[in-house]
Structures are given as C-alpha cells and as structure tokens.
Symmetry: C2
Subunit: 320 residues, 2 copies
C-alpha cells in the first residue's frame, strides 16, 4: 500500500526522506507495506543505482574513500546517498561520527544525502533496516548509494549483503590475514585496500592477502571469476586513492557485463539471508511479547529458576 510520506520521499523531498528513514529505523507500523509498494530499480540489475559497501575495522580510513567517492560522483552529476551503520561497536572511537563531520564539505550539497542508522536491534534488525533504506534511496533515484559499516561483527557483515561491490579497508594494525579470514571478510570483499601503506607490516599484509585471494584461483578476472585486487594506499598522503576508486568502478563494470550471473547469484543469496535474519528477529519479538504479561507462567518460572531456559526454548519451538 502506498504511503504519502514515502511517496514524497521518492519524489525528492529531503525532509520526507529523512522522516521515512526514521520510520524504518524505528520499525513503525506500516513500514513493511510502504516499502513493499516501492519500485526499486536495482532488482533489474547492478549499477542503477550503484550500491557500494565499505567496511573494515575502526580507524582504517573508510571515511577518506567515502569522501573521495562522493566527490567523483558529484563531478559526474550523480546524486549520492551515504548510509552509515554503527550500532554495536561502541569502541570504534566515534569513527562514524567523525566520518560524518569530515564529510561536512558535502553536507550543504542538495544532491548529497548523508544519514546514519541507529538501529540497535539484533542481526535481523540491522540487516532489515539497511536493506529497506537502500530500497527507499533506490526508488528515490539516487545514483550512488554508499553503505558504510565498521566490520567487527556478523551484524555488520550482514549489512554488506545489500551492496553490489564491497570495499574492505584494512591497515597493518588491524590484524593479519588469518583474522581477516576468520572475520568472514574474504567472503564479502570485492576489493581489499591496505591503507597506511607506510606502516610496518603493510607489505606483508598485502602479500598475504594476495596469496589468500588467489589461492587456486586465476590471477586475472574471467567471465565467471572476479580476481579480487589488493591495493595499497596512504589515504592521508592522498596516495593511491584514485586507483582504489577505479577498481571499485571496474568491479561494477564486470558485474554489469560478464560477471552478471555472479552478481545475480550474490543478490539471490543475500535475499535468502535477509529472510533468515528477519525471521529470527521476529521470533524474538514474538516471544518477548508473550513474556510481557505480568502473570505469564513461563516468565515467572524462568525468573524463579523452576524452568530451564534452554529446555523452555526447545518447548517453545515445538509448540511455536
């Protein structure tokens, strides 16, 4: 069912867009229907809009790339939206807030829309909120949508499902290749960037990432295989950043051409995962509602210790 606020947002009213995003973030009633009535262009294929994910640990330099990407897109006359997701990483040192401030240069540009998502919820909440916001920004005709997360948990990586191209920014300080793999970053990355390339360990990290990426894989991209580039740069020295942006655009071109089946496949997997995340979130909400009744025997039994929570959950599932 169509919704006046969402309609106005799609038609380009920034205030309505901001308010519609707040409604998504708050899980207001009717949001699901309003989102369902949108016509996102991206279901048809990659590139319109281009959804770029940027992830990596705190302090890796993600904001520099976001800033640069905005500038490049603006010189081409494109409309840009940035969605910053930073819900569960309290120790990120306020990086995302810092990013927003550093992007202030773009804040007065009417064709740049920057917004952070506050969704605290569990895995499904984050994934749902970011996916729905991208659907809305897509329908609102943005050309480039940048989704930025601090990649230190599964919730943050799940958000990357929504992106056409995922840029993973690392630094020598952020850990070695084993940790990168353990984090699942290898599975989401379309390109790696080793930032702060002047620091000790940068070359070793790059070399090991390349070894890992090309393990039993062709060194060159083919129609069915994207050879993940491992770039180095020094963002503060403004050295190597343009090449990274070029690589991101090259991946998009590949997705639109020979890599289209791979892109389709990833989108398909992404929709399945989103479904699972949301089911899990909803089950929690539903159980919570059932416990809210002051006199609920289950709640009283759990509180008193008469009911084992693992057993109760198993019983809930079979009756559920």
């Amino acid at each position: 069912m169509s919704d006046p606020l969402f309609d106005a947002a799609v038609d380009g009213d920034r205030r309505s867009l901001a308010r519609a995003i707040s409604r998504i973030d708050d899980r207001a009633t009717g949001t699901l229907e309003a989102i369902g009535s949108l016509s996102p262009r991206r279901i048809g294929g990659p590139g319109k809009p281009f959804v770029l994910g940027i992830t990596g640990p705190p302090g890796a330099g993600k904001s520099t790339f976001t800033d640069k990407l905005i500038t490049r897109a603006r010189t081409r006359g494109e409309k840009v939206a940035v969605v910053a997701v930073d819900p569960s990483s309290p120790f990120s040192g306020g990086a995302i807030l810092g990013d927003r401030l550093r992007m202030e240069g773009h804040a007065t540009d009417p064709n740049v829309f920057i917004r952070s998502l506050a969704s605290r919820g569990h895995l499904g909440g984050l994934s749902r909120a970011s996916g729905q916001v991208v659907d809305l920004l897509d329908a609102a005709s943005f050309d480039l949508i940048i989704v930025e997360t601090v990649g230190v948990g599964q919730s943050e990586l799940a958000v990357m499902e929504v992106a056409d191209t995922v840029l993973v920014v690392l630094t020598p300080e952020s850990g070695d290749v084993v940790q990168t793999m353990k984090a699942g970053l290898l599975e989401v990355a379309d390109l790696f960037v080793v930032n702060k390339s002047d620091r000790p360990g940068a070359n070793a990290l790059q070399r090991n990432l390349e070894l890992m990426v090309h393990l039993d894989m062709p060194l060159q991209s083919t129609d069915s295989h994207w050879a993940i580039p491992v770039a180095t740069c020094s963002a503060t020295e403004n050295d190597g950043i343009d090449e990274v942006v070029d690589s991101a655009l090259a991946h998009l071109e590949w997705c639109c051409g020979p890599g289209r089946p791979a892109w389709d496949r990833r989108r398909a997997v992404g929709r399945v995962r989103t479904f699972l995340d949301v089911v899990s979130e909803d089950a929690r909400s539903y159980a919570l509602d059932a416990l809210r009744d002051e006199h609920a025997a289950l709640r009283l039994g759990l509180e008193a210790g008469d009911i084992n929570p693992y057993q109760a959950a198993a019983d809930w599932g079979t009756k559920g």
Copy 2:
C-alpha cells in the same frame, strides 16, 4: 537423561570435560538433555561456584586480571576454570589467544582448566554455549569460573548474564564514558577498572565513570544498592591489581549477604534473556531447514527476486 560422557566430566575426568564442552560448542544432539540432567549448585545462590565475568575492549589488560585471579584462587586451594569467548571480534588482535598463552604458567596445573569457545553462531548460540558450559563446570565442582569476553558487541555482553560479578576493564584509549554507556557496559558492570592509569586521560575517564555510576545513587553500598567501585591500576607495573581482586571478592560477599535479592533478580533477568536468545536462534535454524529443500518454492522465489524477503518473513511469522 544422564549421559556417560557428561557423567565422567562431572566426576573430574579432564578429557571427558573437554569433549563434553566440544559437544556443547558443536550443538551435538542430546546436549540439551545431558545438560538438563546435571545438578548445578549455583541455582541455590551465589558463590558456589563464584562465576566472574571479565569484559572490556581488546588490549585493555583482561588477561592480567585473569592470571592474578587464578593465582589467588590456587593459593586458597580452589579449582579454577577459565572460559574465553571470542567469536565475532576478528580485530581483537588475537588477544584471547595471547591470554591463553600468557596463562600457560597455569596450564600444567591439574586444578586449572582453560578453554576457549569457538561458537560462531548468532546471539543465542553464544549465550547458550557459555551458559551450558558454566552449568557443566559448576556441576564438575569448580570453585571459581572465569568467563572472559571481548566486550565489543551485544553477543559478548549477553554472555556476561551468566556471571555473579562482572569486571569491566577499560583504558583511556578505549573510549570515553559516553561510549561506555552506549556499549551497555554500565548495565553489566559490578566494578570498573581503568587500566594503564599512567596514560593521558586516565584520571578524566575515572572521574567521569564515577560521576556516571553515582548519578543519583548513594556513594556507599547499602543492602539494596551496590556502589560500583571505579578502580585505577597499571597492570604492567603490577600496581593496584590486588585491590581490584579484593573489590571483586567484596562484591561476591555483598551478593551472598545483603545483596542477595539483587543477585536473585539479576539471575532471573538473565534466564529470561537466555530464553529469548535461544528462541531467536532456533527460529533461524528452523527456517533454514525449511529452505534447504532444493525445490522449496520459498527459496526459489527469494532467489529469483519474486518474493520480498521482509514480506516473506512477515508471512512466515504469522503461519509459523
């Protein structure tokens, strides 16, 4: 139903204990029943065993306290178990592994059992695994059970539900009070420790934590209120650590005495949350099983983009 492996673990066989923990970690069939048949002592009250949670960001110095606590408990002839949980924090710089290595001094002591949990799962998986492992270690007559997590996400904080006393270790580098609050650390902490007290910002962090902790609260503990101490120390200089350990023991004493109702209340809330986490995890597994059938119309529809995942999840819930 009793299980021979779990019985042997409870009777003190270390190899059986390690294998039983692996079964919990792997969610092997029959685990729920085996855990249900145990008789953990802790349902009766705090202190037997003493379950101590230690959390804080990577590099805060948690291992130093763990090591010191083990040594203190051993001089009193107590059996000690350490459970290290580090599933979703790939950028912790290998802190937990480092901790284990640093604790090697205790590794040859037959009365010290150190084990890490690999559970990758979602919120419910972690919470369940650590809760069940503590139940098992409790039944196996350990006197002190230390549960250590890197507190950078909700999953890690959820693990702290299992503890009688929670020690939150911070450093001036790990963020300010606002971030500590945002992280939910104020809600789980029974004592704060500002480590690396010689670094700039340590005094300000301590002062602000104290302001926050005592906001509208009595400065001294009463029967119904525990005044959270904010200690400073320099773990590498071995300065102030004994006082921290004393504070942890003071909190336990308070729980066993005048604070008993507060302890009971927290355990009650913990059991409710565990139930919710596990329900949510199970719903996900159940939906996943349903999708596994190659010909499942839902899976095919999601993959093809014919079915909106948010709508499908809503439909799944109502039929579920």
